[in-house]
């Protein structure tokens, strides 16, 4: 597929119908928006980041103790922070509220996608919620704590909370579509409007068409043996707008709906498993065998000849070892699977 993780296209099945969207779809949509933003001079101050950023920030700064040492090693998060807090850019992403309860007493939050942003130039935290109606959305305390702590590492400027324009959902399945639309609208307000509640199904289908078109174009380029995407091609690819839907794209979508994946490159192995199934060349099977102390819960290794596993297991590719065993393991011969 044409996205960073190159997953087969059927993994985007949740885009169809009234299915709840998963991380795969959300991140693919964000990746498309990111490409569109890159080719839009008016959106040059926008950074689009995948949904994992918020999870990482919550891990680093949302707990009782901030993980300063780990943040110091987390280069990619620090680079984003520099662009926002030093460069005055605006970060836009989507967060999942499953582990972000709305109230302090709650253990878990909703399975709900919300748009989140940080506006470095105007010192705003941006937040929207498709469930809030006319009420002002409230950022989950853990998320706000994480954003505040992240900001405090880079600037003493006080940030306020600003509400993002977002479609209010009237069903029980379209928070992901609303969140994606809100991010698109904030990134490129001159191009994308906030979708209306009665147009969400249309917006969902347009999103699928864009994703499929992107995949198709990527595969065509790959089949044409074009090693590098030229600037004009990249621009064409990222400029697909709602009004630019072509007939070929529509037929492509229908093909996918019918269960046929027409975009497999010639000669490629066809994926036949269910979504999320093991890929066609997977060779891993059976449990990993423990070596060393029985009490060592994190010891997991297959290096020792005495513990040589089945040929179809993991030996030869990698082993999992504790830090203490790492140095010892370095001295041992690395087994190769024939």
């Amino acid at each position: 597929m044409g996205f960073t993780d190159r997953q087969p296209i059927h993994t985007l099945w949740r885009t169809l119908g009234k299915n709840w969207l998963d991380t795969m779809v959300i991140d693919s949509a964000l990746e498309l928006i990111s490409q569109q933003v890159c080719s839009d001079a008016e959106a040059s101050q926008i950074i689009i980041q995948n949904s994992e950023l918020i999870a990482k920030l919550v891990y680093l700064f949302g707990g009782e103790e901030e993980k300063i040492a780990e943040y110091a090693e987390c280069t990619w998060v620090k680079l984003i922070a520099e662009e926002i807090f030093d460069g005055g850019k605006t970060l836009l992403t989507i967060a999942h509220l499953g582990k972000l309860p709305a109230a302090k007493g709650d253990k878990e939050g909703l399975d709900h996608w919300v748009p989140v942003g940080v506006d470095g130039r105007n010192s705003h935290f941006l937040y929207g919620d498709s469930l809030c109606g006319k009420k002002t959305p409230v950022i989950p305390p853990i998320l706000l704590k994480a954003l505040e702590a992240w900001k405090d590492h880079h600037t003493f400027q006080k940030f306020t909370i600003s509400q993002m324009n977002i479609c209010i959902q009237k069903d029980n399945n379209s928070c992901g579509v609303c969140a994606i639309n809100a991010v698109k609208h904030l990134a490129r307000p001159h191009v994308v409007d906030v979708v209306k509640p009665n147009s969400i199904a249309c917006a969902r289908m347009q999103m699928l068409i864009k994703i499929v078109t992107h995949c198709k174009d990527s595969l065509q380029m790959r089949n044409d043996s074009v090693p590098v995407v030229s600037a004009s091609e990249a621009s064409d690819m990222s400029n697909i707008e709602d009004s630019d839907i072509k007939m070929s794209s529509v037929s492509a979508v229908l093909d996918v709906i019918d269960g046929e994946f027409t975009f497999q490159p010639p000669g490629a192995k066809r994926q036949t498993e269910e979504p999320g199934g093991v890929s066609e060349t997977a060779t891993i099977s059976g449990p990993l065998k423990r070596i060393g102390s029985e009490n060592s819960t994190s010891t997991l290794g297959l290096l020792s000849p005495a513990a040589k596993p089945d040929r179809r297991s993991l030996a030869g590719f990698f082993v999992a070892i504790t830090p203490e065993e790492k140095a010892k393991a370095d001295k041992e011969e690395f087994l190769e699977l024939e």
Partner: protein, 100 residues
């Protein structure tokens, strides 16, 4: 020119070799760490499978992030230019739709 002069000193890559194993730290979203030793040419799909097996989760419910970008199943440490003791973040696949 003498024979000795024609000898090109080995590069770092030559010394390392393409398949020299490297140590990789896989960190879950709750901070738990698992260390792996993996060849540079081994697809990270296999590492994902091993990690899922180790933590008792299904492969499709987790995903790897390296330097903030999603890792493709066909990526290798070599293709991502990973170095010894680099960290891979594990993220859990989430689903959301929500009832009003």
């Amino acid at each position: 020119m003498s024979e000795e002069d024609q000898q090109v000193p080995p590069t770092e890559e030559d010394v390392k070799g393409d398949n020299t194993p490297i140590n990789v730290k896989v960190v879950s979203s709750s901070g738990e760490e698992v260390f792996f030793k993996i060849k540079r040419s081994t697809p990270l799909r296999k590492l994902l499978g091993a990690y899922a097996n180790k933590v008792g989760k299904q492969e499709h419910t987790i995903r790897f992030l390296y330097d903030g970008a999603r890792v493709a199943q066909t990526d290798t440490p070599k293709s991502l230019e990973m170095e010894d003791n680099d960290t891979i973040d594990v993220m859990v696949e989430q689903v959301g739709g929500c009832s009003p």
